[in-house]
């Protein structure tokens, strides 16, 4: 048996320090966005972003979108005559890293503004630090983060709006009205995390309103490897409608199991995060056909907001070398829009004043590449815009088709609708 000595512990500490140093070096290589050293006194915007770990796929693509925004702004002369500099760190998809990174950004780096990391799990731990310093804070894809905190300087770039429970699944259930025969039963399967559980709660609540009887309602842990038994249990209930609230790579595993078991349903899908990602679309190919899922962007004519096509062209040109999502059809335009909100507020206020910026964001609308944004009292979008899209006409894993209209057809909301529902879902065996 090895005795623990002071020297021994010292060695362990040294080993640990070595690991941390190695991690730090890699983090710096991966995460620190080099200063755009133009202008003596740049406006510095700080944030952490997940460049490694489970959230990295979206985190890296969000960072690329923000880099493109900074370059666009600087090419036009910056903001208030000052160049923009992004200061970012890799939070490694670890919520425990976030408070210290935001403390460093605000107290040591002394950035002028902070924006959020990607996703609810990472935004939530940043809130106490940001609130203590009274910073005006624009977040990216957080769901209900400010619901209980009610921080008056919080603004969210996310389509879900104030009332996730009351609105999230409505678009999916509205699609039941497009079916030739009214469905009677629904099954629900959700991963054990905050966003998915909110989504499941929403569909659970709204199902009664749409006359659907819940015949299966379960959660699964994020560590699930094989979905076959769960899907078979759902199949045994023969539901007309199947709703999943899943995360990558679970969405992939669920759809593979669904395909292998030849599951069919009149309406099939839900909030399947991952199906918006290019790599997943390439792998699943025709298995996605007729899947109806939550989304935030689709290159349909109804969503061609000013600037979004130009942004996507720049993004797609650089995505392969940055080793990130090659399409940019998901959160990437929203990451750009997040920075546009900061830009427009700064331009209107004319100085870096957190209180004045807050007042401006609360009072004004913002024209962005994802459309016009107006914030509610809680800082969420005043009008939610949960998209429900259906994958149609997919014959293979070629991604070119996802750059054009007609592949991710928007079914909801009505003002953005771009096609009609195809039914039933029945993946090829």
């Amino acid at each position: 048996m090895t005795e623990i000595t002071r020297r021994g512990l010292g060695r362990v500490a040294a080993g640990g320090a070595l690991n941390v140093a190695a991690a730090g070096a890699l983090t710096a290589a991966a995460g620190a966005f080099p200063a755009l050293a133009q202008g003596a006194n740049p406006i510095r915007i700080g944030f952490s972003m997940s460049l490694s770990g489970g959230l990295a796929a979206n985190g890296r693509s969000a960072l690329l979108a923000q880099k493109i925004w900074a370059e666009d702004v600087n090419a036009k002369g910056g903001i208030l005559g000052r160049q923009v500099q992004l200061v970012s760190y890799d939070d490694q998809s670890n919520p425990a890293n976030v408070p210290s990174l935001y403390t460093k950004l605000i107290d040591v780096d002394k950035v002028d503004m902070v924006t959020s990391p990607y996703a609810t799990a990472m935004i939530a731990p940043s809130m106490p630090v940001v609130m203590q310093r009274g910073m005006c804070y624009v977040s990216l894809f957080g769901a209900g983060v400010n619901e209980k905190l009610k921080y008056d300087r919080y603004f969210s770039i996310n389509v879900t709006g104030d009332d996730i429970k009351g609105t999230y699944a409505r678009g999916f259930l509205e699609c039941t009205k497009m079916l030739p025969t009214p469905p009677k039963t629904i099954s629900i399967l959700a991963v054990d995390n905050d966003f998915a559980q909110r989504a499941a709660e929403s569909v659970r609540t709204l199902s009664r309103e749409y006359g659907l009887r819940i015949v299966y309602d379960r959660s699964y842990p994020p560590s699930t490897v094989d979905f076959t038994p769960t899907i078979r249990a759902i199949q045994a209930q023969r539901p007309d409608v199947i709703f999943f609230a899943s995360y990558p790579p679970d969405s992939n595993g669920i759809l593979r199991a669904v395909s292998e078991l030849r599951v069919t349903a009149a309406l099939f899908g839900g909030g399947m995060i991952g199906t918006q990602i290019a790599a997943v679309q390439a792998q699943l190919g025709p298995i996605l056909n007729n899947l109806v899922t939550w989304d935030v962007y689709s290159p349909e004519p109804t969503m061609r907001f000013p600037g979004v096509v130009e942004f996507q062209e720049k993004y797609r040109a650089r995505a392969p070398q940055e080793q990130t999502d090659v399409l940019g059809n998901y959160l990437q335009p929203y990451a750009y829009a997040q920075m546009q909100v900061v830009e427009q507020a700064l331009n209107r206020v004319g100085k870096v004043d957190q209180a004045a910026l807050t007042a401006d964001m609360r009072a004004n609308k913002f024209g962005t590449i994802v459309g016009e944004i107006e914030f509610s009292a809680l800082g969420e979008w005043k009008k939610e815009r949960n998209l429900f899209v259906q994958f149609q006409n997919i014959t293979d894993g070629d991604l070119e088709k996802y750059k054009k209209p007609g592949t991710k057809v928007i079914l909801y909301p009505p003002e953005l609708k771009s096609g009609t529902l195809h039914t039933p879902y029945g993946a090829p065996a």
């Binding site: 796929a57 985190g59 094989d226």
Partner: protein, 293 residues
Amino acid sequence: MDPDLSLLLNGIVSGLLLGGLYAAAASGLAVSFGMLDIVNIAHPVLMVAAGFFVVLVGTALGLDPLLVAVLQAPLFYVLGIGLYTAYNYFFERRGDEALQGLAFFFGVMFIIEVGLVLLFGPEQRFLDPDYAFVTWRLGEIDVPLRMLIPALLAMASIGALYWFLQRTFTGLAIAAVAQDPEALRLMAVDPVRIKRIAFGISVALASIAGGALVVVQPIDPSTHNVFIGRVFAICIMGGMASLPGCILAAFLFGVVENLTATFYGPSWAPAVAFGWLLLVLAVRPQGLFGRAA
């Protein structure tokens, strides 16, 4: 067939197939952790790294992922030898292998994960052979080849390893070094050399497991987190150094997980499976096939 019976039979079959993947992932650990007493917490991430190279080579050359996994296994054997040499030089020969060794392999795990992100990006990677989209229907029993073929490869490679350990001098020396390295030295066999070979074999098995994993599901650099708890649990349940025990424990884990998911919901599956581990250890502290001290 009665629907419940059909669910039961399908749950058992899919559990056995899942157990095949678990056995592939845990067998290498049965050698390093079970036989050599090296807490190689980096084993699952080595498996994922192998999966990434399978995708890279398989995509470039148009080869089957399982074939690539077998072909690249010698390279992972060499990698394992390198890792063990560093571990032995810095920790084991000084008698510092317990805590410091754990810190070393934790560091290796972290560096490999971040290295994979830097090399390949954080996106999911996949390489689907044609058979991954084929499911055999045996009456009411579904057998997806996506699960069956990797499980068969896992069984074949573990069988080959078992034969090697039972029938060759080096294999017997590996079994001996697990019991008494000093006695091995008295037989004029260098225990460090034997351990180096054994650790190389364990990492080569991670290559096979990586190929199996790629066929079963897409991978990203953080995929290993899902497997860490399971592979150690299977190794312990099986009796540490026992390959038959490892296989039986993997099958048991898979079947318990899938039957629980089928009848009581997937939330309970890991809890019940790890509950079985506690139950087995309560009855047989040495594991299913372990020898009592």
